[in-house]
């Protein structure tokens, strides 16, 4: 039995070597901009654009969007018909498009279509490239050939069908090819495969037995061999020697059910064939049609067109489901997970020579073959208990044993017989109060064969000295242990929720290292040069333990995420680390990063604490929330950057620029000084994963630095001054590999004509031009006046800001300075010992000035002051006034029905009134109890009421004093109504109201 299992594993190994990395496809449909979902032909032109021919027009894909070309009635620069036959690119780069109404030519330099030739509507026109003779042959169904001059498009001659095919009825000819000798091969509906020799003008049916139908055929010429596939054929493909017309061989590919697959599309690549079939999806096979592989595409789709683009990306066109493109970002990561287990949180991973053990939260230990196929779960194994359900740490003990630690177990696991010896009780015997924190545990076996285990905040050591000796090493205050690593100096470094800790050798104390403060550590790794890498929940740190220098990498430095889980070193010395936005790789010396996420084939973007492991063979494993990713670091390929970058559109004042040259063909642009706001779209012809392409640009002549490094492929330059400019663009592919900068456009913006030397010269000589100049002068005056109006409001605002800033910076600081100096003077030089120091007054005045200034600034700084803020300010002022008079009580109340606002001027006036009123109560009336109320609403913008228990005065006898006059004046300035009532012995009541404005 054991042998059988071993055999199975070795077979699995072989399979793993053969298996291709998972290639998923991205699908483009009408929702993405295609005019229609039936793709008859896919074609890449020499600039890199991908053309999709549909049943309703053509689409040119530039990496960002599908640009659609259709038939428009009455427009000679549109397709002659949407019914498509075939498109070919001639040697000058023109694209000839056959339709059921004629043959059209697309000019890539102008991005325009011209109708070239038509024999009539309803007759398929099929272009056949004969450009070595400067001729374009067009087959017109039922009519024959029209031979056009390649450059002029003029018809040179026509060859009637009857003269070629005298005996055959030619209903429809869907496929036509030219062989190396210039002879023409056609598949004719209902008839067979015809070969017409141009020189001898003989025509024969090479495969008369075949019934052919519509488009379900394929012809592919390869040197002197012609490959023929037809839906009605007995075989998948037949190959014919074009010289002797012999059928060389027939090949049949069969589906899993044994059905013969019907080829409708055919493509040669380095390793063999890719065949699009009518009844079995897309099949790849070797050149001899052995070892077929079905590509992971939905079955039941009929494939009509295949294309491998300049970057080696496979494209497939289908009947009704649009364009399917291979996801070129996919890497050789394979995912291990059990089906139908949700959620599938991998918390830890370890390996034996032949198996991968993943510890899945709640499910226990799932065992996988190295190729990623699920074998079994150890959850309910012979050892019975659910102990393995929450494993979160492991470390290798010897060749066949691992130490495992989880919520409810700690012990030694054998990978040979899956037996488990629990040590938890033994540890509890020595350290009775150990706690295991869920999801958190750390294990490390050091070179002296000691196992260190972190139980919550307690570090426990297990030493093998005959019997296992258990010892509590240290208890970290409030710091749970989250990672352990042995440094090259045989020291144990402890990572915790609060920084890194090392034992001080001199006194045996554990000391928190200053290098990363008390950040939460997730993992630790020592690189090949002995530098320490620390993964924390807030960034990745590189620490030189000798010089103690620390470098931090986080989102601010371009990392996709700062929450770092596991760090591992691969066999080449590169470090791999997992986080919440995928997996990254860093060269520890150059600090060059490469990032991977789900688009590269990862289980998900989120990984997990503690779930990382390196197998003996160098394979790395990272576990996340949806399974485990395993990979050989060497097999994670990096795509070279070979694609060009183009402008896809140029806009002037955000409108497409009117030019008869297409944006990508335009090399330079001459503009007048008024045409100075330009925007550009650019695109890269790397379609591996276009959404991951990055762009960076620089407008030489105005930009100092490169801008961008973004997936946004758009830039805008407003108000460029006259001058010479060069727009440079560079692009990175989905692997982050940058190409060389390309100058996509040179721009010259001419200065206004009246500033050029020739105009200035002529101006003096010519009176007529003088008048023009005068007119311009008037116009510019008018414009300036207009501008002035616009800026007035803005200027007032900024002026106000300037005043308050000046007051603050100069006057305020100056006064504070004076005050400080006075204070200092007082302290050092004390000539008077009597009651009042003469400088005290000076000091008080200065303080008062600062206070006044502070109030003005507070009011002037704003456009409006809310009433609650006014109230708060006044309360602070009042409290300060009675600071040294503890007997006086001021009680404030507020009733704000709504928060109204006051203008700065009103604020200043009424604040003074309130101050004056308070001063009167305190200084003149000798009040002890003062009540102040602020309110708003009920028809009032602002209401201030103050009553005191002071001595009061007779309002009939005493005319208002200076203070009261001042109050009344300010009230009138603020538009406020003031009422003062007072009588001797009855205190004073003041009521200040600003009524709400009636609109």
């Amino acid at each position: 039995m054991k042998k059988l299992i071993l055999l199975l594993f070795s077979m699995a190994d072989v399979f793993c070597l053969l298996a291709q990395p998972p290639s998923t496809f991205v699908r483009y449909t009408v929702d993405d901009g295609l005019p229609q979902n039936s793709i008859w032909q896919l074609f890449q032109d020499r600039r890199g654009f991908i053309w999709s021919a549909t049943s309703d027009g053509l689409a040119r894909f530039d990496g960002q969007r599908f640009n659609v070309y259709k038939h428009q009635i009455g427009n000679q620069n549109s397709l002659s018909d949407n019914g498509f036959t075939k498109m070919v690119e001639d040697r000058y780069g023109y694209i000839w498009i056959g339709t059921s109404a004629g043959v059209d030519r697309y000019d890539p330099f102008t991005d325009k279509i011209t109708r070239m030739y038509s024999e009539g509507v309803g007759l398929n026109h099929i272009p056949l490239d004969c450009s070595e003779t400067n001729e374009m042959w067009v087959w017109i169904n039922t009519k024959g050939f029209a031979v056009l001059d390649l450059l002029t498009g003029k018809i040179k001659k026509s060859i009637p069908a009857a003269s070629i095919l005298p005996v055959l009825s030619v209903e429809n000819c869907p496929q036509i090819e030219k062989d190396i000798d210039g002879n023409i091969w056609m598949i004719v509906d209902q008839t067979g495969l015809l070969r017409w020799s141009r020189t001898a003008n003989t025509c024969e049916n090479v495969m008369p037995g075949i019934k052919l139908y519509g488009r379900h055929t394929v012809l592919q010429m390869e040197n002197d061999t012609l490959w023929v596939g037809a839906a009605e054929s007995e075989n998948t493909l037949t190959c014919i020697n074009v010289r002797n017309k012999n059928v060389l061989r027939s090949f049949s590919l069969t589906s899993a059910d044994g059905e013969i697959l019907r080829a409708t599309a055919l493509l040669r690549n380095e390793s063999g064939w890719i065949v699009g079939t009518l009844n079995g999806g897309i099949v790849t096979c070797k050149s001899d049609f052995s070892s077929r592989t079905f590509m992971s595409l939905t079955s039941g789709i009929q494939w009509y067109s295949l294309l491998i683009d300049h970057n080696g990306i496979l494209w497939a066109g289908s009947d009704g489901t649009g364009v399917h493109k291979q996801n070129g970002a996919m890497k050789a990561f394979y995912t291990m997970r059990r089906n139908n287990a949700e959620p599938y949180l991998v918390k830890n991973i370890f390996t034996s020579d032949s198996l991968v053990y993943t510890c899945v939260y709640h499910y226990g230990i799932d065992v996988f073959a190295p190729n990623g196929s699920y074998l079994k779960s150890l959850h309910a194994g012979s050892n019975g208990s659910g102990k393995f359900r929450f494993i979160s740490a492991s470390t290798q003990d010897d060749d066949v044993h691992y130490w495992l630690m989880g919520d409810s177990c700690f012990g030694r696991f054998s990978v040979s017989d899956h037996s488990f010896t629990d040590y938890l009780d033994s540890v509890r015997g020595i350290v009775p109060d150990i706690t295991i924190i869920p999801h958190l545990s750390a294990l490390c076996k050091t070179s002296d064969q000691t196992l260190y285990a972190g139980f919550g905040n307690q570090l426990v050591a297990l030493r093998k000295n005959g019997a296992t000796q258990i010892e509590l090493v240290h208890r970290f205050e409030n710091s749970n242990i989250s990672a352990l690593v042995e440094l090259s100096s045989d020291e144990l470094l402890v990572g915790t929720y609060h920084g890194l800790w090392l034992k001080d050798k001199s006194n045996g104390n554990w000391v928190q290292q200053k290098n990363i403060g008390d950040l939460h550590v997730k993992s630790l790794c020592v690189d090949a040069d002995g530098r320490l890498w620390v993964g924390t929940i807030s960034g990745l740190f590189q620490i030189n333990l000798q010089s103690e220098s620390v470098e931090l990498f986080d989102e601010a430095d371009g990392l996709p995420n700062s929450f770092i889980y596991g760090i591992m070193k691969d066999e080449k010395g590169a470090l791999w680390f997992s986080h919440n936005k995928g997996l990254s790789k860093v060269d520890p010396r150059t600090h060059a990063f490469v990032h991977y996420n789900t688009t590269h084939g990862l289980q998900s973007n989120e990984f997990n604490t503690g779930a990382y492991h390196q197998a003996k063979d160098g394979r790395l494993f990272f576990g996340g929330i949806n399974g485990t990713n395993g990979f050989m670091p060497d097999e994670i390929s990096v795509r070279p950057q070979i694609s060009a970058v183009y402008l896809s559109s140029i806009r002037l004042f955000d409108e497409p620029i009117s030019s008869d040259t297409s944006a990508w063909a335009l090399k330079s642009l001459l503009l007048s000084y008024e045409q100075n706001t330009l925007s550009f779209d650019f695109t890269s012809s790397d379609y591996a994963a276009p959404e991951l392409n990055l762009f960076s640009w620089k407008m030489e002549g105005i930009d100092e630095k490169w801008s961008g490094v973004t997936s946004r492929s758009y830039c805008r330059y407003p108000n460029l001054p006259p001058g010479h400019y060069h727009l440079l663009v560079k692009t990175a592919n989905c692997d982050g590999v940058w190409g060389e900068p390309t100058e996509v456009l040179a721009i010259y913006i001419a200065p206004p004509w009246w500033t050029t030397w020739w105009f200035l010269t002529t101006l003096f000589a010519s009176g007529t031009i003088l008048i023009a100049g005068f007119t311009y002068y008037l116009l510019s005056l008018q414009r300036k006046r207009h501008l002035r109006e616009i800026h007035t409001q803005e200027r007032i605002h900024s002026e106000r800001e300037r005043i308050s800033r000046d007051l603050h910076d100069n006057v305020g600081a100056q006064l504070a300075l004076i005050l400080s100096q006075i204070e200092w003077l007082k302290k050092t030089n004390q000539p008077h010992s009597d009651s009042i120091h003469p400088l005290d007054e000076l000091s008080t005045t200065a303080k008062d000035t600062i206070r006044k200034l502070r109030e003005s600034i507070w009011a002037v700084q704003r456009d409006t002051i809310p009433i609650d803020e006014f109230s708060d300010k006044f309360k602070a002022y009042a409290m300060d006034q009675i600071r040294y008079q503890p007997d006086i009580r001021i009680t404030f109340s507020e009733t704000f029905a709504k928060i109204t606002t006051l203008t700065p001027t009103i604020t200043l006036n009424i604040f003074s009134i309130c101050q004056e009123a308070l001063t009167n109560a305190l200084k003149h009336a000798n009040a002890i109890e003062i009540k102040i109320n602020f309110s708003s609403g009920n028809g009032n913008t602002f209401l201030f009421e103050m009553s005191d228990d002071g001595k009061g005065y007779d309002q009939n006898q005493k005319s208002d004093g200076n203070g009261l006059r001042n109050i009344r004046y300010r009230a009138s300035q603020a538009g406020a109504e003031i009422t003062i009532t007072s009588a001797p012995g009855k205190g004073t009541q003041i009521r200040l109201v600003i009524p709400e404005k009636k609109h």
């Binding site: 990363i516 006064l815 109340s893």
Partner: protein, 222 residues
């Protein structure tokens, strides 16, 4: 043991006068002075922990690195040190930001030596410095919001909402009461009010520890 302080202000004459105003060398000792936040943090790094100031008087507006940023970083790097903001103008917005970034109080620059010293001793003894009605109002409205950032899952005092007593105290501060009068009204000692105030200040310290440590590492203040 004398009280050790630091003075951070961009104007040399203010630094000198503050020093002469406050430091007699017996009761109050000067640990360091600096002209901006960056200089302060660098000098702190060079100073042995035993010589770190207990209280830092920090100007708000300074070139290179202002007081608010400095306190945000320094209060994390040096949790044992207290920070009092010094300002010429009581710009509520700036003061409130300074408090949120970790200051234990604020003073106007023209205050006399007695007032400043009183505040210094108060914060060293763990009490909260006085708060104006405006700042109290801002504090109440900020802390009553339920969506306060929570710094971590572990028990964090900052994530507790205000206690009823703290709410009462803040409300009376808004009403314009001083500590003494609040104490009378609530039948507690002024010291208890100060302790509650210290807690309120602590709850206002919404600074991100992690960000401060990271900035410290980048700028080599650590």
């Amino acid at each position: 043991m004398p009280l050790t302080i630091a003075i951070v202000d961009d104007k040399a004459v203010i630094r000198r006068s503050m020093e002469q105003k406050l430091c007699d060398g017996v009761k109050v000792k000067l640990a360091l002075t600096a002209g901006d936040g960056d200089e302060f943090l660098k000098k702190m790094k060079a100073l042995p922990i035993a010589q770190h100031p207990q209280v830092v008087l920090m100007d708000i507006d300074m070139p290179v690195m202002n007081g608010i940023e400095t306190v945000a970083v320094a209060s994390v790097l040096y949790p044992a040190t207290r920070f009092l903001m010094l300002t010429v103008f009581d710009d509520d917005e700036k003061i409130f930001n300074a408090v949120k970034s970790g200051a234990s109080g604020y003073l106007l620059k023209e205050e006399d030596a007695t007032t400043i010293l009183e505040a210094l001793y108060q914060v060293v003894e763990g009490g909260g410095a006085p708060m104006s009605p405006r700042i109290a109002r801002k504090t109440l409205s900020l802390l009553m919001k339920s969506d306060l950032p929570k710094s971590s899952a572990e028990g964090d005092p900052n994530s507790d909402p205000l206690s009823p007593r703290e709410k009462e105290i803040l409300q009376r501060l808004i009403d314009g009461y001083n500590y003494k009068r609040i104490a009378e009204e609530l039948f507690i000692s002024p010291n208890t009010v100060r302790n509650h105030m210290a807690n309120i200040y602590e709850k206002l310290h919404v600074r991100s520890k992690v960000e401060a440590v990271k900035i410290g590492i980048r700028k080599k203040w650590f």
